[in-house]
């Protein structure tokens, strides 16, 4: 090696040693750098990172409260909770959602509808919320998923109580249903209270008594691993279940009413005039509320929503119909209370009435006329001409003010949200809507419940109960318990409680006896249909409304149009007269026979009770 001879070993050794000491210094410096970094993380940032570490593993999970049950008046379940195993996915914990759905599909077949509804729910979820994919898993399906959970990130199976309505269609409108919380619901609901709950009441009692039924959620602090699996529970506070509520509704009576209505469109409300408790509330046709609980698929929903018979619509409290002749008892009372007629005063009905200076003939329903008619007969035979003649004396202002005391024109304040006020016309109202003055001819038709006037079956039953109570007002209500927090919402200041009580007692008896004649006098309009064989005394009034159906503006074929042009039949009644126990209002759209429906319901309700009373007496 030629270089060897030139090498200076001592110098080279010194050179290398210097370099080594430089390296030692550098290592010391870099080592100090590492130590500073660890000091920075472990001492200076300790608090912050320690908190992050706890946030990583600790999760506060809400425990949803058990929803309160809903019972009918006899303690039979109308809404209950049944356990259901749900397969759900936390979107934030999955990377490839479609891939995940496909792997799940191989274990548990998913239908198109389930996928579609899942994607609907996914769009409306809250962050880190477990979104249900499939409900009511079988034991076998649970096993398939459970053994594969380790390779299904974000997937979980949990048992949840879901709402069930054992009576199905029977109480869809009154009890209502719960459905999944959507964007709109989120705007009005407190997310902390609903943190573990996926559904909320949408309509009916389920909606209006939501705050009572819901309960208070509990919480548990759990430790999870990086994949979100719960490893142990650290702290727990138990939820407070929702309060059970009892309704005045009676399953048997409801069934009777629905059977009596049959396949006709219509509504019935039966009420206990003593308490205001709604005994039956029917809107026919109906639908199965269970469809809505876990989310209805759009196809089924559209079918229900566009059905021309409008099953989703609660006719009993939303349906606004011309009350027709059923308002005559109230109008008769108005005449008496304003001292405009005496009970014996008679008019001669030749079949029609003309306003002075007008050619227009307002016709009686019986073209040939009823001859000499006093107030009592005008009600029992439902004479129109009598009221036409008195309309001028009463005037729209008195008519409006008096009928208003019976609840027309404003909501009854029943404890569900689905209620409309109907329409009780007045001068101000007409000026406001049409910018026109009120014409005397309009009073003439308003007094027989036609023209602008509209009322819901619920308003009709309320005014009937008021007559039955001789002016004592009762608040219509579905729920037996007094829950001011909820009911106050409905029974605000605008609900008048001092109705027509100051009306002369004699007047009440006169009108009620005229209503009795409707059923029990052989000339009465309901005598031949229901008056015979009645085992108790009933006061009633018939009505026939010449109107187009409430389902206006839809396209029908010619044959259907004919059907939808037929008259509605209406009927209001209460019984027994001496001790009213039930008031009922019925409307059948484009069909006759409202009185027979009413009698079936009053029979079903009263006969067992009367039999019991007579047994006790003997």
């Amino acid at each position: 090696m030629p270089q060897d001879t030139l090498k200076d070993h001592g110098a080279e050794k010194r050179l290398v040693n210097i370099r080594i000491w430089v390296a030692v210094a550098l290592m010391a410096l870099l080592g100090m750098g590492l130590i500073s970094r660890l000091f920075y993380l472990q001492v200076i940032r300790y608090k912050e990172l320690s908190t992050q570490s706890d946030d990583n593993r600790l999760l506060v999970q809400p425990i949803p409260p058990t929803r309160g049950l809903i019972y009918d008046t006899n303690g039979k379940l109308l809404a209950m909770n049944t356990p259901s195993h749900i397969l759900s996915i936390v979107r934030e914990q999955t990377r490839d959602l479609e891939g995940l759905l496909n792997s799940i599909n191989k274990l548990v077949p998913l239908s198109e509808g389930e996928r579609q509804r899942f994607h609907q729910r996914l769009g409306r979820r809250r962050p880190f919320e477990a979104v249900p994919l499939k409900f009511d898993l079988t034991d076998e399906e649970i096993a398939h998923i459970t053994v594969n959970l380790f390779r299904l990130p974000g997937v979980d199976i949990n048992a949840e109580l879901i709402r069930k309505y054992p009576e199905g269609e029977l109480f869809a409108h009154s009890v209502g249903y719960v459905g999944r919380i959507n964007d709109q619901d989120l705007k009005r609901l407190d997310p902390t209270i609903y943190s573990g709950t996926h559904t909320t009441g949408k309509i009916g009692v389920e909606r209006s008594y939501e705050s009572i039924l819901l309960g208070t959620p509990g919480y548990q602090e759990v430790e999870t691993n990086a994949r979100g699996r719960v490893l142990r529970v650290l702290k727990k506070s138990n939820p407070v279940p929702g309060q059970d509520i009892n309704l005045f509704l009676d399953i048997d009576l409801q069934e009777t009413a629905i059977k009596a209505i049959g396949d006709r469109r219509g509504a019935l409300v039966a009420m206990d005039p003593k308490t205001g408790g709604v005994l039956a509330m029917v809107s026919n046709p109906s639908f199965d509320p269970n469809l809505f609980v876990t989310g209805i698929d759009s196809k089924t929903f559209n079918a229900l929503n566009t059905d021309i018979e409008r099953p989703l619509y609660n006719r009993a409290s939303l349906g606004e119909y011309p009350p027709a002749s059923t308002v005559k008892p109230v109008m008769g009372l108005a005449l008496l209370a304003n001292d405009l007629v005496t009970p014996d005063e008679k008019i001669f009905d030749k079949g029609w009435f003309q306003l002075p200076g007008s050619d227009h003939r307002f016709r009686n329903w019986k073209r040939s006329g009823h001859g000499w008619v006093n107030l009592s007969k005008a009600i029992s035979v439902s004479n129109d001409t009598y009221f036409y003649i008195q309309a001028g004396k009463l005037g729209i202002d008195n008519l409006h003010d008096f009928a208003s005391q019976f609840g027309f024109g404003h909501r009854t304040g029943i404890d569900i949200r689905e209620e409309r006020p109907g329409l009780l016309p007045s001068r101000e109202w007409k000026q406001g809507i049409y910018g026109e003055t009120w014409y005397p001819g309009e009073t003439v038709i308003a007094i027989i419940g036609q023209g602008y006037m509209l009322a819901t079956p619920l308003q009709l039953v309320e005014s009937t109960a008021l007559i039955a109570n001789r002016g004592r007002y009762v608040q219509p209500r579905l729920v037996k318990e007094d829950i001011p927090a909820v009911q106050g919402e409905f029974w605000g200041d605008d609900i008048e409680t001092d109705r027509a009580e100051d009306t002369d007692a004699m007047n009440w008896e006169l009108i009620i006896s005229a209503m009795e004649d409707v059923v029990h006098h052989r000339e009465g309009t309901a005598h031949w249909s229901i008056g015979r064989g009645l085992k108790y005394r009933m006061a009633a009034k018939t009505g026939t409304a010449q109107v187009v159906s409430i389902a206006q503006g839809e396209e029908y074929d010619a044959e259907q149009l004919k059907e939808f042009e037929r008259d509605h039949s209406l009927f209001i009644a209460f019984a027994p007269i001496e001790d009213p126990q039930i008031a009922v209002a019925v409307i059948l759209e484009n069909s006759k026979g409202a009185s027979r429906v009413a009698r079936e319901v009053t029979d079903a309700y009263l006969l067992p009770r009367l039999a019991q009373t007579s047994e006790e007496d003997t």
Binding site: K7, A23, L34, V43, T224, N225
Partner: protein, 381 residues
Amino acid sequence: MANQDFVRQIDLHGFGRSPGLAMRWHIDFVLLGFLLLLCAAGLFLLYSATGQDMSVVIRQATYLSVSLVAMLLVAQIPPRMLMQLAMWFYAGGVLLLVAVLLVGVESKGAQRWLQLPGFRFQPSEVIKLIMPITMAAFLARRRLPPSLKDVVLSLLLVAVPVVLIAKQPDLGTSILIGSSGIFVLLLAGLRKRFIATSVCLAVPAIYILWHFFMYDYQKRRVLTFLNPESDPWGSGWNIIQSTIAIGSGGLDGKGWLLGTQSHLDFLPESHTDFILAVLAEEFGLIGCLTLFVLYALILGRGIFITLNADTLFGRLLAGSITLTFFVYIFVNVGMVSGLLPVVGVPLPMVSRGGTSLLTLLAGFGFLMSIHTHRSFLGVSH
């Protein structure tokens, strides 16, 4: 010279309990003791990091025993023989690397292995040992400080395997091997003007490397390192979670087996590259400093052996091995604590894995060999 002899006297008669035995069996008991202490601590930590999986610990202990035997065998090889065979080793190593590129086995997107009957073999691990030997052997024969020609030649010697390994791709290993070669050059007295020039050239070189040679995943690692919060659920996860693990350990840690970040699977790679975070979480800053003390003792012994090597070759080789060991520690701790990008370097002697343990201990075998094979004439040639 008299002073040096004195040091040697102390070393031979003061440290080993029976100096004769140490010299005869070529064992440096001081280094061995430090290494055993470190490995024991590593197994203890591994037990926690694997979620108390004793079988992993036993397997690691087996690797450790095999590697210790290998170390003692390597220590028997006289440094002179290593120096003479260096170029043959080098040629063989490069051939193996070429073979990897041509017929290697691919796994996880990288082609790093040769399939031999019965087992897989990673040639880049052998290069880790060959590189410092080759460079030390090459430069020990030259005049120091090396001339420009020698510098260029040695850079070529470094570049060939580094490029071959980077192509596999295995950035972490190629950086470690490259630096172990460069360390020899630096120790050999590379002129300051060369150092200054290369620092100036580094900036454009990094630019070229970034745009023309680095793979996307490598770029992503660097970008993630610069801003881990940009993708907290993806590539930033490792850095964020390990930072949390370290920080939440505080001064004295959460306790052995009680680290939540590691046991609840928030910390990835907790028994391999990121095992330091487990230590930091469970034993806190005190635990980390204790580990650093062990490392410092080993490094100190390495420096001691380097300074006392009686040949230039031994001096350069021992220095390179010691410095490379430091780089291992620095890169791993730096990457786990978020100071450096994640490059996939295990924590030496502590992370789970047999291959790196074998390579590291074989390296320490060379140190022992250098320290215990001495010509009492005190002359290298």
